[in-house]
């Protein structure tokens, strides 16, 4: 396993280097990410704010990946003069998002339009968070509801509440159990890994593209290991499993 980690990191590094020198980079399309501009555009037309949330989960890979998207979306909002409301459940994520949204406004040359009160800490208590969002949806009527991060049971409630006010909704999480709820109530859903490649997909920076290649390498490796392993296991040879357990 450690060998895998080292190999993964090495592949990662090599691909980052190579994409920096300019490697052609085809990626398949991801509908949910293409829809981000549509969502912001719609809010601009309707004069409604965009709502962005990470859910109430711990600061993990989902949150780190979602930071990339937030950075992009808040930049778009700044350019289009559309408000973005970010609601947070974790103290440290609140601080990070303040930094990100502020930086996006500065980079867009709209430092003056940044409104600190729109990046809001609500509560890390799930139900208190939910009730506050229900209120915000009813009173501030966001035209788009972007939910990307480690979601728990709030996924169902937020997406249904957003549906009721007619917001265009994009949900995405690596927490597999919550994906069905997003599929049921959102216009677009980022399934699992699609969230993690979001940064690369939007930004197309060499570093992030490198990550996609390394992840694909990991997937190919596991595909082969599983296929070969179980065929061998059927023939009574357990060498792949023994090797992996080392």
């Amino acid at each position: 396993m450690f060998c895998f980690l080292v190999a993964f990191a090495a592949v990662f590094w090599v691909f980052v280097r190579r994409t920096a020198q300019g490697l052609p980079s085809p990626i398949r399309r991801i509908g949910g990410l293409d829809a981000l501009d549509e969502a912001v555009g719609r809010c601009t037309e309707m004069g409604r704010p965009v709502h962005y949330t990470f859910g109430i989960g711990e600061m993990d890979g989902n949150v780190l990946a979602s930071f990339d998207v937030l950075s992009y979306v808040s930049g778009q909002c700044a350019r289009m003069d559309t408000d973005i409301i970010v609601t947070n459940a974790l103290g440290e994520v609140q601080m990070m998002t303040e930094e990100i949204v502020r930086a996006a406004y500065v980079n867009a040359g709209k430092a003056d339009s940044y409104q600190p009160d729109n990046v809001r800490f609500i509560s890390n208590v799930q139900t208190a968070y939910m009730s506050a969002i229900l209120g915000i949806f009813q009173r501030e009527r966001p035209g788009a509801n972007l939910m990307l991060g480690p979601f728990f049971a709030e996924s169902m409630m937020l997406s249904e509440a957003g549906q009721q006010i007619g917001a265009i909704q994009i949900g995405g999480t690596g927490r597999t159990i919550q994906i069905p709820f997003f599929v049921a109530a959102c216009d677009y859903t980022l399934i699992g890994d699609e969230l993690f490649v979001a940064g690369a997909y939007i930004g197309r920076k060499p570093l992030q593209m490198g990550a996609i290649y390394a992840q694909d390498f990991g997937k190919w490796l596991s595909l082969v290991l599983m296929a070969v392993g179980s065929v061998l296991a059927t023939m009574g040879i357990n060498s792949v499993v023994t090797l992996l357990k080392k």
Partner: protein, 277 residues
């Protein structure tokens, strides 16, 4: 007619909600006594506790919160009662900010049954940190709880680390199960059973198949089954009828919506072909 069909496709949500209320309330007054099937996951949990030696050491980590109490509280009470019957020594460990209040109640329950605090059971203080806390417990239990002074609890002094435990019970509706097996089961291989909300059963079940969890009690059904197995008639069994009836109503609305949808679609297709009205 068309108007009616269109309306069946978009029933006002308030009507759906009202009927949900009614179908859930009625069976509470008029129970129907539908039969209960015991799943192997619940049975396995019961067996794991039944197999414990007298006076076994158990950690009961709980992330119970008001949002999950409808399902987790009946389960927890049944399991704690069962552990009490086995005279187990229990370390209650609230791992979410709202959980200490629940542990208070389990302690009161044990104290009322004649168990002695500090000797037979203790409650650890809540700490923020989530997964970090599980890592810390797996690394070095004692230093994860530096605030407990030596001599404060007899039971705590007799414990060196996670390896001393005979059973780890993890209760929660979120991520704690994965932390428990990732950072504690993976390292010490002590039996783990988990009490969960029914929603997350689909993700937790693979860990039962792979034997990382010895048992799963899931949802109100799981609680009712456990109550039946252990012979404590209780909270959960009474809610089962209401649950089934509410479920039928939801199925009914789905069928209605689809039938209306297809009739309208067929009608439109007929018109497109030039059929008369």
């Amino acid at each position: 007619m068309d108007d009616f069909l269109t309306r069946m496709q978009n029933i006002d949500r308030r009507i759906i909600y009202t009927v949900v209320f009614i179908v859930l309330a009625v069976p509470m007054f008029k129970p129907m006594g539908l039969p209960l099937k015991i799943t192997r996951e619940t049975k396995a949990s019961y067996d794991a506790i039944e197999a414990l030696p007298e006076g076994a050491l158990v950690m009961f980590a709980t992330a119970n919160a008001p949002g999950t109490q409808a399902e987790l509280e009946p389960q927890s009470i049944a399991v704690v009662k069962h552990l009490m019957r086995k005279n187990a020594k229990i370390v209650f460990n609230p791992v979410a900010a709202e959980s200490p209040r629940y542990c208070d109640r389990y302690r009161e329950m044990m104290a009322a049954a004649g168990f002695e605090e500090g000797v037979d059971f203790i409650q650890l203080p809540y700490q923020a940190g989530g997964e970090t806390l599980y890592v810390a417990m797996g690394t070095d239990l004692k230093s994860a709880y530096v605030m407990i002074q030596p001599g404060q609890y007899e039971l705590w002094d007799s414990i060196d680390g996670m390896q001393d435990f005979d059973l780890f019970v993890d209760c929660g509706g979120g991520e704690t199960q994965r932390w428990a097996i990732g950072h504690i089961e993976a390292k010490y291989h002590i039996p783990h059973i988990t009490l969960i909300t029914a929603v997350i059963l689909a993700v937790v079940q693979p860990y039962f198949t792979s034997r990382q969890f010895s048992g799963i009690v899931s949802g109100l059904n799981g609680a009712a089954e456990y109550e039946v197995l252990a012979g404590f008639p209780g909270l959960a069994a009474s809610g089962m009828d209401a649950q089934s009836l509410g479920h039928l109503w939801v199925i009914f609305t789905i069928v209605l919506g689809n039938v209306a949808y297809f009739i309208t679609k067929a009608g439109k297709a007929a018109k497109a072909r030039g059929g008369g009205d």
